[in-house]
């Protein structure tokens, strides 16, 4: 993949769109990027509006929609939304807590070849997971995993947000996923939404970041999406995106149709428009916040030997921790290798 082209040009449309179709959730995870779970349907796009939006995605040749929330299966019309995406040839990847998946739902999903499912599990054992995601969530998520595997669902991954609290269980999580014939996906903990409150408690230590980098080098079948390019070694360069994809390859649509560069930058500063008022293609081309991210040049990183591997890292983490988009990623390998933390430093 010739990703360098992305750093200099703009794609005609996103490759994939993260679409948070609901803010409602039946769990209350301590690291959730959503600031607070909604309790009703207010502010959600209607099914008709969803279909209209999917028509537009098809028109601009978006390949994939990553459906999340909230908990997507709380929307009773999720099945219609999935069917309509597939009818239009759009691949769907549903990010779910798995607690609502029963044999019936798993059977339907197994008959959808264009669907990928990602179930969140944040500990290899119940105690760890439930401390983070809520009591009973481990057993219910695993029941969902089992329903899918029994129905022969193939495109399954188990997703873990890597935290100080579950770090020592990463390899057991990998084995758990393999046991179920699923892939392991590790996601980065970012201080957005509710996670701002738990950042100090949960963010990885420098030693853990170094160990994680080595682990990812050893286990190249672990998926990371665009999470860990700031710490991965040269040998994973071609396994995923080596730069922030926000506004370059992807963007995020909130339940009410608001558009942001990514799920972690759902802040008023980055509001780009609303798909109910303006076509996404136009927002993609014209939004100020998108063009700001595209033109971002992290000067402090320019001379770094790792620049080609991360292009300065995650702007969202830099924004939340340093209040500057163009600061180097505070968790990149170079930054954490600095001699010592200054007393009182935020990170």
């Amino acid at each position: 993949m010739e990703q360098e082209r992305l750093s200099s040009g703009t794609l005609s449309a996103p490759v994939n769109v993260t679409w948070e179709i609901t803010g409602r959730c039946n769990l209350d995870c301590r690291h959730c990027l959503s600031a607070g779970a909604a309790r009703d349907h207010a502010g959600e796009m209607s099914l008709e509006q969803c279909r209209h939006f999917i028509d537009h995605l098809k028109g601009i040749r978006v390949f994939q929609v990553n459906i999340g929330g909230g908990e997507p299966f709380l929307r009773e019309d999720l099945w219609e939304i999935l069917d309509y995406c597939h009818l239009k040839g759009i691949v769907t990847c549903v990010s779910t807590n798995g607690t609502m998946l029963d044999a019936g739902a798993a059977g339907k999903l197994a008959r959808m070849p264009l669907t990928y499912i990602q179930i969140s599990i944040d500990g290899a054992v119940q105690e760890t997971n439930d401390r983070i995601r809520g009591e009973g969530s481990y057993a219910r998520a695993l029941r969902g995993v089992e329903c899918l595997t029994r129905q022969g669902f193939r495109n399954l991954s188990l997703n873990t947000v890597v935290l100080r609290d579950n770090f020592k269980e990463i390899h057991d999580l990998y084995r758990l996923a393999r046991f179920y014939g699923a892939k392991t996906r590790l996601s980065r903990f970012r201080p957005a939404g509710r996670a701002r409150d738990t950042w100090q408690e949960y963010h990885l230590t420098k030693q853990q970041i170094l160990e994680l980098s080595a682990y990812l080098s050893e286990f190249k079948d672990v998926l990371t999406g665009d999470s860990f390019f700031s710490i991965t070694a040269e040998d994973r360069k071609n396994l995923g995106l080596n730069m922030c994809g926000a506004a370059r390859m992807t963007c995020c649509v909130a339940p009410d149709g608001s558009v942001y560069p990514c799920a972690f930058l759902q802040e008023s500063d980055f509001y780009a428009g609303n798909v109910l008022e303006q076509p996404l293609a136009e927002i993609w081309r014209r939004a100020g916040s998108f063009n700001l991210l595209r033109s971002l040049r992290k000067e402090a990183c320019a001379a770094c030997p790792r620049f080609d591997l991360c292009h300065g890292g995650c702007p969202a983490v830099a924004f939340f921790l340093k209040r500057e988009l163009n600061s180097p990623d505070p968790e990149c390998l170079r930054q954490i290798s600095e001699p010592e933390e200054k007393p009182g430093e935020v990170y």
Binding site: M1, E2, R5, G9, L11, F63, L114
Partner: protein
């Protein structure tokens, strides 16, 4: 006389970009960026799912054929003989 038309393999999608073509593989969600001069691959590839290279210029072009073979080798196109 037989000729070869080119199709998208099952599970491969494509769209035109300023730099060339962007392919997407449904089976693993991987992307492939292919730098190309505009117009080398006609719109019928994404509009109809196939194209006839002879429609482009009607004559042999070794560089063009080499490019098509490279795309076939990478699993992004399949060549099918038709009479």
């Amino acid at each position: 006389m037989d000729k070869v038309i080119y199709k998208l393999p099952c599970g491969i999608m494509v769209r035109r970009e300023a730099f060339g073509l962007l392919f997407y593989n449904v089976k693993d969600t991987n992307l492939t960026f292919v730098k190309l001069d505009g117009g080398l691959i006609p719109d019928s590839l994404w509009e109809k799912g196939f194209f006839d290279p002879e429609d482009r210029c009607g004559k042999e072009d070794p560089k063009y054929n080499q490019l098509l073979q490279e795309l076939v080798k990478r699993g992004l196109l399949v060549g099918t003989r038709t009479s």
